[in-house]
């Protein structure tokens, strides 16, 4: 009791963010009922017709449903995977750099693409990946004698392009998180290892990497919540009729059917479906992380 009295200023300080959460996150959750309605704006939530699971059924009844969900999963899972591996490895390399100025410079440089919008980047990619004089294909043809490769017009290459360009854009941002974790490693550990005769490689293997595991688990677990988000703005700006079968994802499909046609009930249903799947995966990985890595995130 006494302790609680002493802490009350801190509790007050939480209050604004708590209010914010209630107003902007919890109250709007009531809108989820729209997922089970044929929502019409002028009838409102109270007056719209109740259609039960119809909106969900529609997602699975289309001839291309399986394909679209599969595309989403393939692209999203590969993105999650490589967006863990790339910054993880890069952080280790960067950590080995002893010249602080170079390290900072590189860090900023790889961090920058994160701030580019896909609308702009999409236009740039179309140009540099063009089969008609794009720089990438020129290098491939003139230096290696391969191709030209139709990166954005061939289904399989489209997926590769989407994943690689996303990793290129985001790995710098991820690196920052890992570098922060590495900054917290006690330098005396390295000193002790050196005394014991461990080289740089052994130090990395036995100190740096174990130090990064917990943060990797956190980042990985949180990323799993995005397993049905394959990246709307990226795909929307890059896809075209030639790659519909390999590149159409849930979000682009929702955009066309729900947003363009004003089917808000259907849009809500998909959103709910994605959130539920995401939540289940986060819960599972949370348990697994605790069981195997002995790490509690929350």
């Amino acid at each position: 009791m006494k302790q609680r009295m002493r802490n009350w200023p801190f509790h007050i300080m939480i209050l604004p963010s708590l209010l914010f959460l209630i107003v902007f996150s919890y109250i709007p959750m009531a809108g989820i009922v729209m997922a089970f309605q044929d929502f019409k704006p002028w009838l409102g939530i109270a007056g719209s017709e109740w259609v039960g699971w119809d909106n969900f059924r529609y997602l699975f009844e289309r001839q291309d449903s399986v394909q679209v969900i599969l595309n989403t999963l393939i692209i999203a899972v590969l993105k999650i995977l490589f967006n863990l591996i790339a910054p993880f490895t890069f952080a280790i390399f960067l950590n080995e750099l002893r010249q602080m100025a170079v390290k900072r410079f590189v860090q900023t440089l790889v961090y920058l693409p994160h701030f580019l919008s896909w609308v702009i980047l999409g236009g740039i990619l179309v140009d540099i990946l063009s089969t008609d004089g794009g720089i990438v294909n020129r290098v491939l043809v003139e230096w290696f004698g391969i191709g030209p490769v139709f990166f954005l017009g061939d289904g399989d290459w489209f997926r590769v392009t989407v994943i690689v360009s996303d990793v290129w854009k985001e790995f710098g941002f991820g690196t920052v998180v890992f570098l922060a974790a590495l900054a917290n490693v006690n330098p005396s550990l390295y000193e002790a290892a050196e005394t014991d005769g461990a080289g740089r490689f052994k130090q990395t293997l036995h100190i740096t990497i174990p130090a990064m595991i917990p943060i990797t688990v956190v980042v990985g677990t949180l990323a799993l919540g995005n397993v049905l988000n394959a990246g709307f703005d990226q795909i929307f700006n890059l896809y075209n009729p030639l790659v519909y079968d390999k590149g159409d994802i849930i979000d682009t499909f929702v955009y066309r059917t729900a947003i363009l046609n004003g089917e808000m009930g259907f849009g809500t249903a998909i959103g709910l479906f994605k959130s539920v799947i995401g939540m289940i995966l986060i819960l599972i990985s949370y348990r697994l992380a605790y069981k195997w890595a002995g790490y509690r995130i929350f």
Binding site: K40, P41, I45, S130, D132, N240, L242, E263
Partner: protein, 448 residues
């Protein structure tokens, strides 16, 4: 609206989907009888230019919204061709698809600007958004074989049929595939949207680009800055082997005016709008609106009484027409075209509209308007303008998707032209047949 707030007396809306929702909401009244009773002759005549303008807003024979009229042919297109290239090669503008091929071949292999064959894009078109769009539009190629894709055309039996499943499509696709192989169209046409197709045109690397009559002002005006001596001239759409030609048409309406059920004196709105149609829409020379709507806002006069426009107006230009109850004030569909034709015949701009088109549009616009109107009979409007039907809502996106994919794959040679026949079968079986029935039900309900 969802929170049950009161709606204004008069709502003007351009978004077709929202307009249909608002009509269905039952907040607005039937307007047909009001229009018949209170609208002025000028307005009624303007409305009568196309009897189909009421169709989107008709429910069970009742006219629920007044169509907002727009200038005709704004989205109809023609071919813009580099006249300096034609002259250099001593070629005539193409009248048929065959002649067009000869011109494209010449642009590519004997380029007057010395461009290598690989650098020239003889015909700049794109398929990313649709096969039926506004700039860099390929739909006229199918028009040469008797159909316009992605819209509902009137068939031989008087019923509506979907343009994309017409047998003529197959021939058009084969032609495009041939052109793709020969390098007449951009290699990455499937990745190009409308604006992208204008890039090589403006850069001076394209020889032909399909587009609306106003393209002379934007974006083509900039070509001469990049390539000295570049001249774009408008030409008619070439015809196919059977002499057929086609382009997609423009609806004369771009929105709707709704009147609230609770409005006590709806006739007041007609007084307002009648005034605009009678005095502002297309006044004779010497009217008080000759120079613009409001002095000091969209035009001004200097001390000698000379008119000032745009940036020369003290305090800057304000498009005061936008503040009228109906977005564009009052437009008579054929008035702008008539004004342009007058200019094309060499008449000095006198009336308000003639001055406006002279001041605001590119140098070739009057000539383009003339070309457009000479081919008036090939213009095919999308005849289905009603609210999306039940099956459309659930099936149309999938049908559009397989359509775009099949068409693009045929053009790129990834599938043989026979894939078109299979597409038509799938289209019909996957809901297309049902949609066609629903569309015709609607069409019967609005047809007089």
């Amino acid at each position: 609206m969802s929170s049950g707030q009161e709606m204004p007396d008069i709502v003007t809306i351009g978004d077709a989907l929202l307009a249909q929702d608002l009509i269905d909401s039952g907040i607005f009244r039937e307007v047909g009888p009001l229009f018949d009773k209170y609208a002025s002759e000028t307005w009624k005549q303007a409305m009568a230019l196309d009897e189909n303008v009421w169709n989107p807003y008709t429910r069970d024979g009742k006219r629920m919204g007044i169509p907002v009229l727009d200038y005709a042919y704004n989205h109809d297109y023609l071919l813009w061709i580099r006249q300096d290239w034609l002259d250099d090669l001593k070629l005539e503008a193409p009248k048929t698809i065959e002649e067009l091929e000869a011109v494209m071949e010449a642009f590519k292999t004997r380029n007057p600007d010395g461009l290598k064959p690989g650098e020239v894009i003889p015909l700049s078109i794109g398929f990313k958004s649709s096969m039926n769009t506004w700039m860099g539009d390929p739909s006229w190629i199918f028009g040469a074989y008797g159909t316009i894709p992605q819209q509902w055309n009137v068939g031989a039996d008087g019923k509506l049929e979907y343009g994309s499943i017409h047998p003529g499509m197959k021939q058009g696709l084969q032609k495009l595939n041939e052109w793709y192989d020969k390098g007449y169209i951009p290699k990455e046409a499937a990745l190009w949207d409308e604006n992208k197709t204008s890039e090589p045109a403006v850069a001076g690397k394209a020889g032909i680009i399909p587009g609306p009559y106003w393209m002379s002002g934007w974006p083509l005006l900039d070509t001469a800055k990049n390539v000295e001596g570049a001249v774009w001239k408008p030409y008619p759409i070439p015809s196919g082997p059977d002499g057929k030609a086609g382009r997609h048409g423009t609806h004369f309406t771009n929105g709707v005016i709704l009147i609230n059920k609770n409005m006590k004196h709806p006739e007041a709105f007609f007084t307002y709008q009648n005034y605009l149609f009678d005095n502002f829409a297309n006044p004779e020379k010497g009217s008080e609106y000759d120079l613009g709507l409001f002095k000091g806002y969209d035009y001004d006069l200097d001390e000698n009484g000379k008119p000032l426009h745009l940036d020369n107006i003290p305090g800057g230009y304000v498009n005061s027409i936008r503040y009228l109850l109906v977005r564009d004030g009052a437009r008579i569909p054929d008035a702008q075209m008539k004004a342009l034709l007058n200019l094309a015949e060499g008449k000095e701009p006198e009336t308000r509209l003639e001055k406006e088109v002279k001041n605001n549009y590119g140098p070739e616009t009057p000539a383009a308007a003339k070309v457009l109107l000479e081919q008036e009979d090939i213009s095919m409007k999308d005849m289905f303008t009603g609210p999306a039907t039940k099956t459309m809502k659930t099936k149309m996106d999938y049908l559009n998707k397989i359509e775009s994919q099949t068409f693009n794959e045929i053009i790129y040679g990834e599938q043989p032209p026979e894939a078109f026949d299979k597409f038509v079968e799938t289209w019909k079986a996957s809901g297309g047949e049902q949609i066609t029935n629903e569309v015709n039900e609607w069409y019967d309900s609005v047809k007089k």
